[in-house]
């Protein structure tokens, strides 16, 4: 279980997360919606230990990310996919994927490479294993980014606006893969602006507004008039997003 308890985070005078509570159970897909600056990415960065909490507690399968010794274990259980891919530019697609399994999980190189190739094949990049990130399109890069996270066999996949740097065509390349992962029962925390897609794959949707978790509802209920839409802010957000 991934548990966020009363988390507060401020950057100087700016409060970004203000008492957020969230629980993600294995097998669930939880989408996090909210306008830019609402704290979605910061929440992800707190979960994977890139930001220190000011207050509260985050545990990944009972490993506390605030404790350096437990953070390593927590990080082994969660895989992050970044908005801007963050691939290592000096490594091929395959090397990007196998670095952490070889160095952190101490997997034999040949095994890690075989698995890396299998993952690349799954996302339709079987023939691009030896390409450098600069030689790949945005959608291809993000698919490599997803493989890099999956190669660690994470129990929780953290996705931070993974399609917001991509055009619609490339977005669908990436979303198709995520839909497949969701169907296979991968646990995901999915920060996104792709509302329709979130609706299709999520079990639950949470809505962040100015660092406060305004709504946390099952997907059906979130889009129901007496559920999430009853919140004026959510209704406003959804109607604006749909117009675009």
């Amino acid at each position: 279980m991934l548990k966020v308890e009363n988390v507060k985070k401020a950057f100087g005078p700016v409060t970004v997360l203000d008492g957020v509570n969230l629980t993600v159970n294995p097998g669930e897909v939880v989408s996090i919606l909210g306008s830019s600056g609402s704290g979605k990415s910061t929440l992800i960065r707190c979960i994977n230990g890139l930001e220190k909490l000011n207050a509260g507690k985050i545990t990944v399968d009972d490993f506390d990310v605030s404790k350096p010794k437990e953070l390593a274990e927590a990080r082994k259980r969660s895989g992050t996919v970044f908005q801007l891919f963050n691939l290592y530019p000096h490594m091929t697609a395959l090397q990007n994927i196998t670095l952490a399994p070889i160095e952190v999980l101490k997997r034999p190189k040949a095994e890690a490479e075989a698995e890396g190739r299998a993952l690349l094949t799954q996302v339709g990049l079987g023939d691009r294993a030896d390409a450098y990130p600069a030689q790949l399109s945005g959608g291809q890069r993000q698919r490599v980014g997803i493989c890099r996270a999956l190669a660690m066999k994470p129990r929780y996949l953290l996705l931070d606006e993974v399609t917001s740097a991509l055009d619609p065509e490339m977005t669908s390349e990436v979303l198709d893969i995520l839909a497949k992962l969701a169907k296979d029962g991968t646990t995901m925390v999915f920060v996104t602006h792709e509302i329709e897609f979130a609706r299709q794959i999520s079990n639950r949707i949470v809505f962040l507004e100015k660092g406060v978790l305004l709504v946390d509802l099952p997907t059906e209920k979130f889009f129901a008039a007496d559920g999430g839409l009853a919140q004026p802010r959510v209704a406003q957000f959804l109607s604006k997003m749909r117009k675009d």
């Binding site: 990080r75 801007l84 670095l99 952490a100 952190v104 450098y132």
Partner: protein, 223 residues
Amino acid sequence: MRFAEFTPYDIVLLLQGLGVTVGLFLITSLIGLLVGVLWGVVRFYRIPVLMQLVTFVSEILKNSPVLVQLFLVFFGFPAFFHVNVTPVQAAIVTLSANTAAFVYVIAVSSIESIGRDQVEAARVFGLSRWQVLRHVIAPQAAAFSIGPLTALLVNQLQVTSLISVIGVLDLAKIGATLNLRTLKPFIVWTAVGILYYLAAKAVASLGAWAEKRLRAHSAFRGL
């Protein structure tokens, strides 16, 4: 009678001088690179005290003339520490330290040129700081720094000529000797200059070759 003609043996002398110059250059560059990179790593780990000390020493070495440093080592060590240093020892100490100071600056700026996103991308997958440095930062920083490093080394090769003033028989000293004997400065210094040029060119070509290899993933293709 004064023997003022060139002899074939002069070529041997020049080549000997070139050997001393290149030899000292290689030794001091190697030490300078190792020490400078080590200082850069100290800074990467933000080791307190040591980090400030390294910055302080490198500031002094960068901002004072090599000739002054050379004199301080050559005359200062015997005077203040009662340690006798030969001209070659003084040259090795001074040039290595000077190279290290500049390598340190290049190492720091190239490490810091690697975006935070790279460090984060590696840390979230559980790589330790050392693993991040070794697998993610160092290869990218090396590619970034190879240009400035080559420029530095080409310059340091010319700087070795300063050690002739404390009596090391390097290429410049041999040139000065030949010049005094033959009184044909244009011929002697042209020959010496060509030899320095060829040595520097070799260093630059080596640098270009290394750069091409290290930047295979991101060759600059013009604007």
